[in-house]
């Protein structure tokens, strides 16, 4: 060894490394854990540095340049296109599906029907949705067959050559009608009610007795479609190791992988879902739609297969916001204090459960509004109808009940001759109020917000 080279012994210790970590703010070496673990609970209403700042978005530059690649902007060598045939009938038994004419067409490389799906059911809470309807059609937007062809136009033309024989069944469209015992049944022969939630707090009947006035009203909200500007899009491709890759506009890719695993009978480790930049979701892309279909078409053809929903598919065959029918009965005193409230919510649950159970739960908890009500009874039902699926959409049940309880509040204020702002301030939550389900709330600023807003709007003028 060269005598001029000096070997320096580095002085390292865990302490020194941790100090270096501190400087870099990189936890390369973890702190030893001491039990019990103390969780840091931030003080309520603590201002964070982010509030009040104008932030730029890291993807903004590429968007403006038109360089952002959404799923439909991706293309792979040999890629072909898939289209799904929609039932177009609200409720029917499928007697036969004949894809032979479509399969013969030049340029059509594969067809798919429901019977070919290994496990033809999935869903976020109830697995009541088929990938492709094979026995019963539950709503007009149900897919009944699919084709893959070298161009989109050929795929669309091929759909016309698919013959499906239906035996029409009596559909039910109105959720209230669907709740009755003799209504046509959608899934379960006994009942169309597939989820029920009840909240009971205090004693509503006594509350109504004690109250000076009782107000009743029914509110309805409509079905709303998300209309993301980018339609649902997916590309499916298999590799030489038998693994399926899906590029998809799907939002929940882990759950999506579970559903693809279930429906295609594949282990998780053979499924890779790449969720790229999406052109709007709003809750409508929260579950799989055509992923298993494209996966199977890709397997059959040995080619990457792309499927993009048309705008018609978006309206007919993708999830929507639940229409709600909300019956409110409120016992209120002459001074405006709410004493008791009874709410009955009927949620139009569409053809499949999708996210209805979650929506129902949220709606229930929020149906009383941010108001102190000692006696509360909420009963909520999700009901199947033969209409487009209802699922997650920004708010998840909150917008519907908010419309109801706020309109109701205004109506009562008017009748009692009380200022709509005052009646709310009288009843509103304060710090550490409890939600109807007993959750103690912090950072409650309902009254302050109302007052600041009222001042800014010039409410008094």
């Amino acid at each position: 060894m060269d005598d001029n080279v000096k070997v320096v012994e580095a002085e390292t210790s865990l302490e020194a490394l941790r100090e270096a970590d501190e400087a870099l703010r990189l936890p390369a070496v973890a702190e030893p854990i001491t039990y019990p673990i103390e969780t840091k609970v931030p003080d309520a209403r603590q201002q964070t540095p982010a509030v009040g700042q104008r932030a730029t978005r890291p993807d903004g530059r590429l968007h403006g340049l038109g360089q952002t690649k959404y799923i439909d902007d991706l293309s792979f060598p040999g890629m072909i296109h898939a289209k799904i045939k929609r039932a177009g009938i609200a409720h029917a038994r499928i007697k036969s599906v004949d894809v032979s004419e479509a399969a013969k067409m030049p340029g059509v490389l594969a067809t798919l029907v429901g019977a070919e799906i290994p496990v033809n059911s999935f869903g976020p809470s109830l697995q009541d949705q088929p990938v492709l309807a094979s026995d019963i059609v539950y709503h007009a937007g149900d897919g009944v067959a699919a084709v893959a062809a070298v161009t989109e136009q050929l795929a669309a033309d091929a759909l016309e050559k698919i013959t499906v024989e239906y035996e029409p069944m009596t559909p039910v469209f109105d959720p209230l009608e669907a709740m009755s015992d003799d209504a046509p049944k959608v899934h379960d022969p006994d009942s169309n009610i597939y989820a029920t939630k009840v909240i009971k707090k205090g004693d509503v009947d006594k509350g109504f007795e004690d109250a000076d006035h009782i107000f009743e009203a029914t509110f309805r909200t409509q079905m709303v479609e998300h209309v993301p500007l980018e339609p649902h899009a997916t590309i499916a491709d298999w590799d030489g190791n038998g693994r399926l890759t899906l590029w998809s506009s799907l939002g929940r890719i882990t759950m999506g992988r579970a559903d693809v695993s279930r429906t295609l009978g594949l282990p998780y480790n053979r499924i890779r879902i790449i969720g790229t930049i999406v052109g709007g979701n709003f809750g409508g892309k929260n579950e799989i739609t055509q992923e298993p279909i494209l996966g199977l078409l890709s397997k059959k053809t040995g080619r990457p297969v792309k499927g993009v929903y048309s705008r018609e598919d978006e309206f007919m065959s993708s999830t929507t916001r639940h229409p709600f029918i909300m019956e409110y009965k409120t016992g209120i005193n002459s001074d405006g204090r709410i004493v008791a409230r009874k709410v009955r919510l009927v949620c139009d649950g569409g053809a499949y459960c999708s996210w209805s159970e979650t929506t129902l739960g949220k709606a229930c908890i929020l149906s009383a509004g941010p108001y102190n009500i000692d006696n509360l009874h909420v009963e909520a039902f999700a009901v199947y109808t033969n209409k487009t699926m209802t699922g997650a959409m920004r708010g998840f049940g909150a917008p519907q009940v908010c419309f109801a309880y706020e309109s109701h509040m205004d109506d009562m204020a008017k009748e009692l001759g009380i200022d709509p702002l005052e009646i709310r301030l009288l009843n509103a939550f304060e710090e550490n109020a409890a939600s109807p389900t007993g959750q103690v709330l912090e950072s409650v600023v309902v009254k302050e917000s109302l007052q600041i807003a009222a001042e800014r709007f010039g409410w008094k003028d």
Binding site: G60, G66, T68, Y70, P228, L229, G279, G280
Partner: protein, 159 residues
């Protein structure tokens, strides 16, 4: 049939079936995927391009209709030196969220400012009436167009 167009300053040719829309021609034959397919019937404006300087729905034009014309897509706005002021302002103000409407809205805004350099808010809304955005509520988009108008006017005065 064969078509030739001047696209973003370059002459491009393609051989396509007559029923090909300008939108598909741009996206599939020439890999200009900035113009998007949102509805395919001219309602959403995600497919907006400039045809001889006028903002149009590319999904409502046949390739043959656009033959021999001059097309500007979003890809043609920035050059190697700089972004178009609209692209810069949209970025600075974080005017876009998912971005899908972005190319269409920016081109519609460019057409507006080309024909009306000092638009009122009502005129900006009118100029963007053919472009839908589902994410933003349009507020920052309108602000960005207004700011760009002021910026361009200031540059004009300085020049």
């Amino acid at each position: 049939m064969d078509v030739t167009m001047n696209v973003n300053g370059r002459e491009l040719t393609a051989s396509v079936p007559p029923e090909t829309t300008l939108l598909r021609l741009l996206r599939e034959d020439w890999d200009l995927t900035g113009a998007k397919l949102g509805c395919d019937v001219g309602d959403c404006g995600a497919c907006t391009v400039l045809l001889d300087g006028q903002a149009v729905n590319a999904c409502l034009m046949l390739a043959g209709q656009a033959d021999g014309r001059q097309i500007t897509t979003i890809e043609g706005l920035a050059d190697l030196d700089a972004f178009h002021p609209l692209q810069k302002t949209f970025e600075d103000l974080a005017a876009l969220q998912c971005g899908f409407c972005g190319p269409g809205i920016i081109l519609a805004a460019k057409y507006l400012l080309d024909t009306n350099p000092n638009p009122s808010t009502a005129e900006i809304r009118d100029g963007l009436s053919g472009n839908l955005c589902r994410c933003t509520g349009y507020t920052k988009i309108i602000e960005a167009v207004a700011d760009t108008a002021k910026e361009l006017a200031a540059k004009q005065d300085a020049a």
